[in-house]
Structure formats: C-alpha cells, structure tokens
Amino acid sequence: MSEPSTVSRARKLEIDPVTRVEGHGKVTIRLDEAGKVQEARFHVVEFRGFERFIQGKLYWEVPVIVQRLCGICPVSHHLAAAKAMDAIAGVDAVTPTADKLRRLMHYGQLLQSNALHIFHLASPDLLFGFGAPAEKRNIVSVLETFPEIGKWAIFIRKYGQEVIKATGGKKIHPTSAVPGGVTQNLCVESRDALRRDIEQILSWCLLALDKLKQIVAEREAEHKDFAYFESNYLSLVGANGVMDLYDGTLRAIDSAGGVIFDGVEPCLYREQLIEEVRPWSFMKFPHIRSLGRDQGWYRVGPLAQLNCAASIDTPIAEAERRLFMNIGAGRPVHATLAYHYARLICLVHSAEKIQQLLFDDDLQGDDLILSGQRRGSGVSCIEAPRGTLIHHYEVDERDQVTRANLIVSTTSNNEALNRAVASVATTYLSGQEITEGLLNHIEVAIRAYDPCLSCATHALGQMPLIVTLEDAAGEVVDRKVKQ
C-alpha cells in the first residue's frame, strides 16, 4: 500500500494495488482543501481481451479457452461457455447425466471459490478487525491464531477442487464440458471417495456460518452500516423462484423487493440489460435498460442470489436464508458486509447440493453427448461464485466465432464497487489523519464484493486510456489520451 500524499490543498490518495482480491486494481480518492472526499474511484488497471482474441477460434474450443480468464473460478466460465455452445450445437437440453455432472462440477466450484474468498481473503478482516496491523491481516495469521478456521479454509477448498477433478479431470481448468454434453461420467471410486467426506465438509461449513453469525452479532452496527446503500439486484432463479445457481431465468428486483423483470430467458438478456463504457476504467458499467444509467445499476453475487430467490431447495440453507432475510424485515438486505453472510449460506447450500448429487445414480450414466441442428448464436447464464455471468457468442458457417460478449459478475458490480469506495471514504477518511488501517476500510468494502478483476476486463472496445498529470496544487498540467 502506498504512502498517502502529503501535498497541501487538494490531495490525491492511492491504494495501489488493492490487495486480497483476484487481479489488479487501484483506488484513487481526491480530497478537497478542507479534507473532505471530493471523488472516489475504483479502477481496474489490467486488461485481458478474451472477447477479441477468441474471434476466429472454433466454437468447441471456446469452453477450454475462456476459462483461462481466471484460475480461481475457471469452471464457471467453462460451463457458461459450454452451455452457450450447446445452443450453437443445436442442443436445447443435455442428457440428465451431463446436466447433473455439470451441476456437480459447478457446485464444487462454488464451494472452493466461496471458501477461498471467505477464509483466505476476507477472514483476516472479519476476525482481527478492519484496523488490525497489516502484518496481521493474512491467512497465515488466521492459521496461527485460529487453527480450527484455518483447517476449514484448507479442507473445504480442497474438497471443492476434488469435486472438480472427479467431474472434469483436473482441479483447475477442466475440459470435460463440450458442446452438447460432457465427455466423462463420475466413476464409482471417485463418487465413493467424495461421499466419505461430504458430511464432514458440510459440518465445517455450518461451523463457519455460525462463527460469522457470532461476529455479526458482536459487531452489529458495523455490519449493518458499513458502506450501506440500497440498490437493485439481479440473479438467476429456477422454477417458482427457487434458488438455482446453475440454470434458470433472470430476475431483477428493486431496492424495496419489487420485481423489475422476471422469467427472462438468458438469450433475451439484451432486451433488459445494456452496457456502458466509461473512459477511466477497463470495466464496463451494465445497467437495467428500462431504468436507465442513473437508476438502473444493480448488484449481483451471493447477496443478490439470496435477495432474488423465493426459497432454497436444500433444508439447512433454506432455514438460514429465512433467518438472513429477517435482517431486511420484509425488504431486501442491502448491507455491503451482508455479502459475507450470504456467501456462507451459499457455501452451505453448495455442500448440500453436492451431497444430494453424490447419491444420484444418473451420474454414472453413459448417455453423455447430444447433437442437433447447428445455430448461429448462443447465450448462456450461470450464477458464478461472484454472481450472474452471461456468455454470448456468434458463430459463422465455418464454425468460427465471429463475436463474443461476456458480462461477468464483477462488471455488473462495477457501479456498486465505486459507491462502496465513495461511501467508506466519505465516512472514514474525510477530515481525519490518513492511516493504513483507515485505507484498509476501503479495501474491506471492495473485498465484500469478491471482485474478480482479471475476469472483468475483457473488452477494450472504443475506450481510450486517459493519463492525467496534476501538480501539487491539484491543477491538471498535462493530459494524454491513448486511443
């Protein structure tokens, strides 16, 4: 973390890089002469470009290529691309074996990625406090001070990756989902090995949830008010609004819980969502078309998944969802730190779903791949660990991709991330001495969204890179625009 600037009058503070998030981002905060926050922005400074360089690739290669966006949740991109390519291959519904194998892989992904976030990235803040010394805020300290929690961190994540390996061949970057289905079923040996440990994993997830609830109860005001703002929410839901993190239709609700749209098939996402480019970030700003740029921004991720769902089809997670929703007293839960609470409920739900699936004999079926009449485009939607993920591809008659559009979860949370930064900066920085602990508050707000910055920066479009040079008085002395 860089030292805060000490120039007189207007001052610019930078947190560069933002730590314990996936990828590279920075925050700039401009203070006025009175020391009040004038402006705060969350910038993503890396660039990936996947949408562009998969053009020309053959469509069955895409599920394997695009998952290289990320090493933390590659399965989400692998499955989202495979689902979109099902449509290209003319397959509207894969076989029950393929569907359940993909779901099992997906819940393994949700388990390991949510565990990674809650334990490895966020737990130092939650356990030691936001103002704890920097040397304390890491997973090694968690392991030393709370060895039991360190054990959950390691083994829950490991189990999720074992599920991915059993269903996809590799713990990271599997290749088993192909257009029209999957290439392998779940062997009995792998199934039995996973069955042996799932009870233990589920119990550790529940213990972690209890611990989080205890922390929330002890620091209720902080968890309620920190970076609080209201917003719209977007998520996939299954039939009757039941939480479905793998498939379903899109539902958006407003800050009071009213439905903005519901039952929207993923292939029609462009009728409801529009993406905006701004010159100072490599991330796009999507919003709900009918509400416009200023009112239509929304949040995705575990908080949205719980706020949008009418129920959860696994018993423990459903009971916990009901308790969680009591916080909102009939309205959606809006607190930024509630993302962690919601994430743990999703973690429990994922463990329950894995347990259900491991006792489903369809997983050993041999009917793996279907084919159909080729189509020119395919859209899919999945609830990744960080929220709603949309993949859209167009393919020519030679089987080559001509266009791709990915709206990843962190992109959808872009506006919310900026608002969270501004909110915390205004509350904690204005008129105060700048300390690293205070700057960490900014990072805490960002981490709650679990941003995946490398995933989110895949489109340059017409966005110019602007570099502004300011003197000590805050005056702009030079400005370069690189197209």
Binding site: G56, L58, W60, E61, V64, I65, R68, A89, G168, G169, K170, H173, P174, T175, S176, V178, P179, T183, Q184, I369, R398, D399, Q400
Partner: protein
C-alpha cells in the same frame, strides 16, 4: 527376415536388420526408440525434422532415411544429440504459436510429448509470434497453421496413400507454409475426413472438426505413457 539379415550397433546394442531397411525401422523393430516427428511407418521417409539425427559411423545423418548396413555403429542417445534435439524442438515451438494449455490435441500431440520426454518444460527461445491462417472452410476438417511443424506427413499421405495431392509447401525458411493445392481453400479440394492425411498430423494442425476434447484428461495417448514407450516396450526395456 529373409536370411540375408545382418547386425549393426546402436548405442552399444546389437540390432538385427535386413537389406534396404532404414536405421529407424530396424531400431523400432528392436525396441530402440529414436525421437522423430516427420517419420511415420506408413509413409516414405522424408528427413524433414532432423530429430532422428544420429552419429552413424562418426558422421551425422538422419536415421529415418539412412539404410542400415552391416557393422554400422550408430549413436543416438547421448547428451550432445539430445541437446541438439532440444534446440530443434525449441525452434519448432517458437516458430509456431503453440498454446498447449487450450489446444485440443494436448495429451495426444507428438511435439508436446517429445518436449516432455526430452525435459523441455517450456520453450527457452523467444516466440516469433508469426501470423498464421486458420482454414475452417471444410465442413469436417480444419487446418490451424499456428501449430504446423512442416513435417510433410499430410503431403506424403495425401499423395502416396490417398492419391490426391491436396497439400504442398509454399515459401522458404520462416516464410514456409503448408499450402493447399491450386490456391484453393480446403473445401474446394477433394479432401475428406476419412483420408489418411486427415488423421496423420502429429500436432494440432489438421484436425477433425467437432471432436475436440472428447477424450477425457488422463486417457489421452501420452497421458499414461511417454512417447516412444510403445516401441521400447517391445524389447522389454523400461521406457524413459
């Protein structure tokens, strides 16, 4: 053997051969693996890739084109020759655009398997990043020239086995490319997915469409045993 067989020495081992048999063919039969890319037992030798270069009676020559002779002394497996093979492989990697991580031939690719066998974890030379064309015009087969190693297997197979001569080389040096006969794209030729030439490519250059990744990780050709172990297993020798 027809009674005219003779013996020669490879890395100190006696190898039996018959008149007209190449060194590499005799070694294959004897369970001695000499690295190769362009050589294929169904095709006439071409001597293109130079990976099978050996010391033959003290002079360098390609084992795939050199006939064995009585009393010949061949050295194939020593550090100098293997280092040179590593250089050749390195150059093949960096002159193409080989993205093994996402290539559908990964685990079934002879170039990748040779790199593993000769302990090349990643190329040590700078990539050239040349631009190559993908020809996806054919309904059943595509050509990705990014991975072509100019081994000429497809050229020889099309000409000698399929009787079609669909392929040829154009250009020289770094500008050399696999070309389609008569400047056409692949869909304008008589090429077919059932041709021998469609299945003989050692890398991911000529590939049957819509079959990618169908074999699960762990079950691909070189996932279980290293390249050459099928030959070495004939003699009961332990594969490298």
């Amino acid at each position: 053997m027809n009674g005219q067989e003779f013996f020669f020495t490879v890395d100190g081992r006696q190898v039996r051969a018959e008149p007209g048999q190449t060194i590499i063919a005799a070694c294959d039969a004897a369970g001695i693996y000499i690295p190769r890319l362009c050589h294929h037992p169904d095709l006439k030798p071409a001597g293109h890739c130079k990976l099978c270069s050996c010391y033959i009676d003290g002079r360098r020559a390609s084992a795939c084109t050199m006939p064995a002779a009585p009393g010949m002394v061949v050295i194939s497996d020593n550090e100098e020759l293997n280092n040179d093979r590593r250089v050749v492989l390195n150059m093949l990697f960096v002159e193409g655009n080989h993205i093994c991580a996402t290539c559908e031939k990964s685990g079934d690719c002879e170039l990748q398997a040779l790199a593993y066998r000769l302990d090349i974890p990643s190329p040590s030379l700078p990539y050239q990043w040349q631009r190559y064309e993908i020809d996806a015009s054919h309904p059943d087969v595509f050509i990705d020239r990014n991975t072509c190693v100019l081994c000429s297997r497809c050229i020889r197979a099309s000409r000698d086995l399929d009787g079609k001569s669909v392929f040829g080389f154009a250009g020289r040096g770094l500008g050399m490319r696999l070309n389609i006969d008569a400047k056409a794209e692949l869909d304008e030729t008589t090429f077919s997915a059932i041709d021998k030439a469609a299945k003989i490519c050692p890398v991911g250059c000529i590939v049957i469409k819509r079959t990618g990744y169908r074999t699960p990780v762990g079950l691909r050709r070189f996932d279980v045993t290293p390249i050459g172990s099928d030959i070495e297993n004939k003699s009961g020798a332990k594969p490298k």
